[in-house]
Subunit: 352 residues, 2 copies
DNA sequence: TTGTAAGCGTTATCAT
DNA sequence: ATGATAACGCTTACAA
């Protein structure tokens, strides 16, 4: 089996507390140099490694951080997971992802709570789903240190939220500038709500110009790309007249839309200008590189980790609420006139 | 703080062992119905939830499964992680990813060992890296149940490996069939080794036809796409004559290559046929959909989990070594002649 | 400078 | 049918 401090102690004829003292260097200063060396030596040769579980049970730290997130496979989720894990690992913690869907959100949260995590990153979008709100209320006894991610409207004290206001307005203005008359919004049906900031800003922009939102809800599909493709297919086969610009809620949707447009002979950007969101790196390498909203994912994760660490060490510190701006990244998929024309025609050009 | 079985016991004037009996339903049969009901009631109203850490310390299970994997952001890694997490969660375990790079592989492994994991998925590609082999040798005292993933040549008893033999040979034959004379291989410099099966099969195929491998090593870059793009750029600027087919070690590389070719006016597939590997779903939606090798990732993960469960419950069971075949998926990027011509000209067409 | 002992929240083996 | 008690591996206050 596994070497414990007791075995080391027995081996050396010492008590296990002395061994413990040396091995985690807490009160190691008061141990004699010779004893320390003997212990360190023995630990090495015997292959000792501390039992994290026992340390966690005893101490007040488990060194375990959770992520409570939707169970989708979107690029965005995976990217966030990547960054959070890296950050957490660098600081001697481990990251455990807990995936939740509409049907199991409550159980998932309870499962998470059982692990006495030191802290939790919460995709607070999940709080808008039935159940979790109640679960949280119910477990008022104790909530772990949490930081909400990506939305401001949350029940969580600390959060790092993404702001789309400027970026979406810039995008809309850009689309108007390049001559688009009608601008549609492609997203899952559940997203046409004010709570979804991208849609809200989009709708506002149009209304201020006396236009109405043109919402194209996604049909069900096995992937976002596929769903988007089928959505456009169906739309066109029903003889709907397609807007001359489509703002898609993310790049995956945009990719599917682009594919559908192509198969119908509708050129991007000349017939339909196309924009996405998330800036999946692949999208810069498309034949028609995609205009998109670039999200400060790495920064958001860094900030969230800072906030969480702060909350863990100073439970009563003041709320830390950070807003990070998305940025417009203009590429060919919305470039209906040449770069030069565009620049000369518009004084305020945004993005890169 | 948190409700414990002791508190429930005190509340009800019972002993904590009775509470434990009922709560985990082990010897619950011998408890009187009334007591059971009282306990269950109290547990509910007091918001009791079992402490996984304490259970782990006491019992022989931690209900924690690790993944030991490279710390890259490749699509493939993320996809595997997604599947493994889902499987593990469904069975009441949690998955902890441990990322390792060349420089920290030993520490990472030690960190992993500290958690007394019930089992570990190991990307055994990591075993070819310096250090881990030694680390394993060193910690002979105890190795957790492990299953190696994706390579057969490993020090691990159980593994699920991907076989590329058939798929790569089919691809090569396909490329020849559509008239390609020279077929290059684009990959990181470290991959031009027999250990890398794709390359080995590729090289073999060529040698059997009296040709030599045409290796194009990737330059350094911030992402595989970007590296691939720059590699081709540099290659062409040095006036190298590009093969009329390029087999890229994965789809991300192929995407970057495709982008570079485009900017140099080299059409795909008519001037250069292009193939990747991994079947990243996005690649089917490109303007020139990518021919690729489709990997049975989901099946591999399922099988690996089965193998791991078996090893966990029956430590002395016989080795379980599974090989899964990659499949050729032909799309436009290698279709230099029409589908019809191709089908009529070749009796043995593989893939979908 | 080192040892003794209590306790973290469980589970499980004894008694009763 | 229920309770007392030991044990998992560790940390730490207190005793020597």
């Amino acid at each position: 089996m596994r070497v414990t401090i007791k075995e080391i102690a027995k081996e050396l004829g010492l008590s296990h507390s002395t061994v413990s003292r040396v091995l985690n260097d807490r009160q190691s200063s008061i141990v004699s140099d010779t004893t320390r060396d003997r212990i360190l030596d023995a630990a090495r040769t015997m292959g000792y490694r501390p039992n994290r579980i026992a340390q966690a049970l005893k101490g007040e730290q488990t060194r375990l951080i959770g992520v409570f997130m939707p169970d989708g496979r979107d690029y965005f989720f995976r990217e966030v997971l990547y960054h959070l894990r890296a950050l957490v690992e660098q600081n001697g913690y481990e990251l455990i992802p807990f995936a939740a869907s509409h049907s199991n959100i409550n159980e998932s949260w309870l499962r998470l709570l059982r692990w006495d995590l030191d802290g939790v990153f919460v995709f607070d979008y999940l709080f808008h789903m039935d159940g979790l709100g109640k679960a949280l209320e119910y477990h008022t006894g104790y909530v772990p240190p949490m930081v909400g991610m990506f939305n401001p409207n949350s029940q969580i004290t600390d959060f790092v939220a993404l702001k789309f206001n400027n970026a979406v307005n810039s995008l809309m203005q850009h689309l108007v500038d390049v001559g688009c008359k009608t601008i549609g919004y492609v997203a899952p049906a559940t997203s046409f709500v004010p709570l979804e900031e991208r849609y809200a800003v989009y709708a506002d922009f149009l209304e201020q110009r006396g236009q109405s939102p043109f919402s194209i809800p996604l049909v069900e599909g096995e992937s976002l790309c596929e769903a988007a493709k089928q959505t456009i297919d169906e739309f066109l086969s029903m003889n709907g007249s397609l807007p001359d610009a489509l703002f898609c809620q993310n790049d995956e949707i945009a990719l599917g839309v682009q594919s559908a447009l192509r198969s119908h002979g509708l050129a991007v950007p000349s017939r339909v200008a196309l924009a996405g969101c998330d800036d999946i790196p692949y999208m810069a390498y498309l034949e028609t590189p995609l205009t998109t909203l670039t999200l400060p994912v790495a920064t958001a994760c860094h900030t969230a980790w800072k906030a969480l660490q702060r909350r863990m060490s100073l439970p009563d510190s003041s709320p830390m609420q950070v807003f990070l701006e998305a940025e417009l990244t203009i590429r060919s998929s919305t470039m209906r006139i040449t770069d030069r024309d565009y620049v000369s025609a518009n004084s305020l050009i945004t993005g890169t």
